[in-house]
């Protein structure tokens, strides 16, 4: 009798553990094809992957509403015989990142039958090349699409194609002018610690130099793509700063873009200080809660026993 109850109790306990454990711990199985925004919708994937991700389209100057294809290649990285997904995005920001947010319509994804911006395979073997077919926005302008790959395999890896692929939709190219777009950080954003400044140029061929200046002072000069700079914001005082990128190409065409960003390292430090205090105070509170409750419980017992004796 007792043994059967023991077995029953053990089975109930095992069932509870099995039922609850998956949601209480980390496991990576991918999420499947879907429309996924930038950020944590597919898992946060904060560790930078060593993969190489490139984007290519045969038509970077389509007419309004014209059909274009976009191919994303991923090679290398940490995933091996495990899930890997790629998404195409209109911004590397947590809001407005779906291609449809800037007027693009996905006509087909790499499956050929659905129209999602995120495609995933269960077993990545070191290289993929996936093509999306899209309809360009109906308004003439400059649009940049980005690609992001994510995978697990023991960690939460991801890699963004920071530069993206810029499409000039309609006839907006002006001779003698280079269209410079600062893709990261976004204008008027608040930044701290180390940031990556990224820019794309249209036309992107034969860029002679691209100068990054902050508050009018030249920081660096690049003569070839990718136009990425890593900046330690601790060098700058907290507050607004003007970030400028100027480019010139072999034909003498010029272009520049200027954005304002706000450096806030003090906020980050204050926040960390508050967190440390919250951790310390909460821990002391928990110890006090247990200790005081035990003493109160013993006092209640003593009081009731004394009452009983009387």
């Amino acid at each position: 009798m007792g043994r059967s109850f023991l077995v029953l109790a053990l089975l109930v306990a095992i069932a509870c553990v099995v039922a609850l454990s998956p949601e209480m711990s980390a496991f990576d199985n991918g999420v499947g094809d879907a429309n996924e925004g930038y950020g944590c919708s597919t898992g946060c994937h904060t560790v930078q992957s060593s993969a190489v991700i490139t984007m290519w389209s045969p038509t970077t100057n389509p007419g309004e509403g014209e059909t274009v294809t976009l191919t994303v290649n991923v090679t290398g990285g940490e995933a091996s015989d495990s899930p890997l997904g790629v998404m195409i995005l209109s911004a590397l920001a947590t809001s407005g990142s779906l291609p449809s947010d800037t007027g693009w319509t996905i006509l087909s994804d790499p499956t050929g039958t659905t129209t999602y911006n995120y495609h995933e395979i269960p077993a990545y073997m070191g290289s993929v090349s996936w093509t999306w077919t899209l309809q360009a926005p109906s308004t003439p302008d400059q649009y940049t699409l980005y690609a992001r790959e994510i995978h697990g395999n023991g960690d939460t890896y991801s890699l963004n194609n920071q530069t993206g692929l810029t499409f000039i939709v309609g006839d907006i190219v002006t001779p003698g002018i280079i269209s410079v777009v600062i893709t990261s950080p976004t204008a008027n954003s608040e930044v701290s610690d180390t940031i990556t400044v990224a820019a794309s140029m249209v036309p992107s061929a034969d860029i002679s130099y691209a100068i990054l200046s902050i508050d009018g002072e030249e920081v660096d000069n690049k003569t070839s793509a990718p136009f990425l700079w890593t900046i330690d914001t601790h060098v700058y005082t907290d507050g607004a700063h003007v970030l400028n990128i100027t480019a010139t190409n072999a034909t003498g065409a010029h272009g520049y873009e200027e954005i304002t960003i706000t450096v806030n390292n003090a906020g980050e430090e204050t926040m960390l200080l508050s967190w440390v205090w919250t951790m310390a105070a909460g821990s002391i509170l928990m110890i006090a809660l247990i200790g005081t409750s035990m003493v109160v419980a013993l006092l209640i017992r003593k009081h009731q026993m004394e009452k009983k004796v009387k």
Partner: protein, 230 residues
Amino acid sequence: MVSISGLHALSAELHAGFLTLAIVCILIVVAAQIIVRMRKRMPKSLVRWAIRTRGYAEITSYVAAVAGVLSLVLSAWTGMYAWRMDKLLESELVRNKILLTAYATILWGGVVFIRTRFGRGLWTCPAMTVVYVGSAIIAFGMIAIAGCLGSTLSRGESLLEPVYKFVGLDFEKGIEVDPGIAAAIALASAAALIGSLLLARVRQLFTVELGPETCQKVFRWDEPKILEPT
């Protein structure tokens, strides 16, 4: 070679499993104790089941809680290295997870301390049972939320999200208290702890033993022990 993330996932599974087993067994003992206490109004077969089961569940909960606390510490240690150190404290979600895990570890430590100090005799004293079970439930709630934050980090979703929305909790925002208020809480807590320890010394509570022979005449609560085979 096994990656540190793999070890973290393993230790997370371990602590989640052990602590779930511990809380389930504690709740089984609670149910069994209530059934036994109200035996006159309960079916005899249920009372027999409760008397036989509670002994096994009680010792299982103790062993599982000890193993759970050890694997929780291991999980916290591997978790520190599973993320890049410079990125560890950037995410508010991760900071909340660390905070809740630390609080839960202290509470589970308290649960293990109470059981170690008073033995299964604690179940004969209702007030101490309330402290023991209450601490275990709060600690399990915290570890469940911390686990679900881990799920949000790795998969972007978790089981408790509908609950957060219903209750109005937002773990995407950091749990932070102003340093001044935190210092006041720390001082008040420390004062309360020292005060209660002094009171315990004055009232000679440090030497108290809980058990049927010291409590049962007053509280009439049985001790959940494993019965000898008949």
